[in-house]
Symmetry: C2
Subunit: 212 residues, 2 copies
């Protein structure tokens, strides 16, 4: 059943989970409703109920959802009950920011290896992890059976690194390089490109030439 669920539904589950965790952290109540969640997220309550109902019955008419129970169910659905080891390639400013990102903690991921090709970075300690020479990338990823990678390398290196990662068994790649990567269809690639996001918003702005 689970393999028939649209990607767009899966994409919303982590957003529900993040808001549920915030509700739990606020500690004011133990239950919530699709109305409350929807209001906080700017998503219709009907959409939330429909999305969640694809995975089972999590709430009761009248009492709503038990926050911690629903968080745990979403963790199971999203395969986040155990921490995933993550390899980070690129130890520049962005890589540094990600290696030290507090948001990974308790959210299912841990950067366990960092690689770079620049002698300036190799050997540095980033959040407890020593930056390794990218030459060791294939062997290390394979040996550790790492499935998830984050790429903060320059555009011109992104495809070559991707090829090595896929060869070593990585099947999920989050990339910050502004280039479309080629990989077999069983590899999931998620892009983070600030310009694409800014361009999507610029459409809704009044053109500068029309502004006073």
């Amino acid at each position: 059943m689970t393999n028939t669920i649209p990607d767009i539904v899966i994409a919303r589950l982590p957003i529900y989970m993040r808001e549920l965790c915030r509700l739990a952290d606020e500690g004011e109540k133990t239950t919530t409703s699709s109305q409350e969640l929807g209001k906080r997220l700017g998503i219709s309550s009907a959409q939330i109920r429909k999305d969640l109902s694809r995975f089972g019955e999590f709430g009761k008419q009248g009492t709503g959802y038990h926050i911690n129970y629903l968080i745990n169910q979403l963790r199971q659905i999203l395969h986040l009950t155990e921490e995933w080891p993550v390899v980070l390639i690129g130890a520049g400013y962005l890589g540094h920011a990600l290696a030290h990102y507090h948001g990974f903690q308790h959210r299912g991921f841990r950067v366990v290896r960092v690689f770079d090709n620049d002698p300036v970075h190799i050997g540095k300690i980033m959040n407890g992890v020593k930056v390794q020479d990218v030459k060791e990338l294939y062997k290390s990823v394979l040996a550790d059976q790492i499935k998830i990678a984050i790429l903060t390398v320059p555009t011109e290196a992104a495809q070559e690194i991707t090829d090595i990662l896929v060869e070593a068994g990585v099947t999920s790649i989050l990339t910050y390089a502004p280039i479309q990567l080629k990989a077999p269809s069983f590899v999931n690639i998620s892009y983070s490109d600030p310009v694409i996001q800014l361009q999507q918003m610029a459409y809704y702005l009044r053109p500068q030439s029309e502004q006073s």
Copy 2:
């Protein structure tokens, strides 16, 4: 007519434009087809034709799209014919990476002001821009009529900064803080949260407990 176009269609236009720019840079040809674009992007050619046809007739049966012409048309549709000034708040590692990001060039945006509240960062020069005290944020953004902001501040500061930005006239915010921001409905907020992207991909991974 344009205000009836779904957000999801608008969201794809920058991705088409980025690929068209890459085709132009490769310099091998002056025209392309929805088939070629679709193959490079992993999007169906029918989808591309349908999306583009909402804005007019850009291609001809048989000859396809003229690459540079289509790039220019998309620039106009997305309001990217002039460079938008952008304010960046947060001059830490992530802010530093964004201030020096080459991808902004020629893609419609330029970071013209950088703010931080940390004396360690204030006064530093980042890619030619001097980091200012965040106390000056409201006045500067208002005076420069800046409409677009990038937030790389800690979670606990994100809402307060957002309130100041909106008050000063900003209507597009790209935020890296892992928190849902509250703003009036005319403000567009785009989130960049690496953990959400990783969690969306984890669903498609075989649970670690099931791996050998």
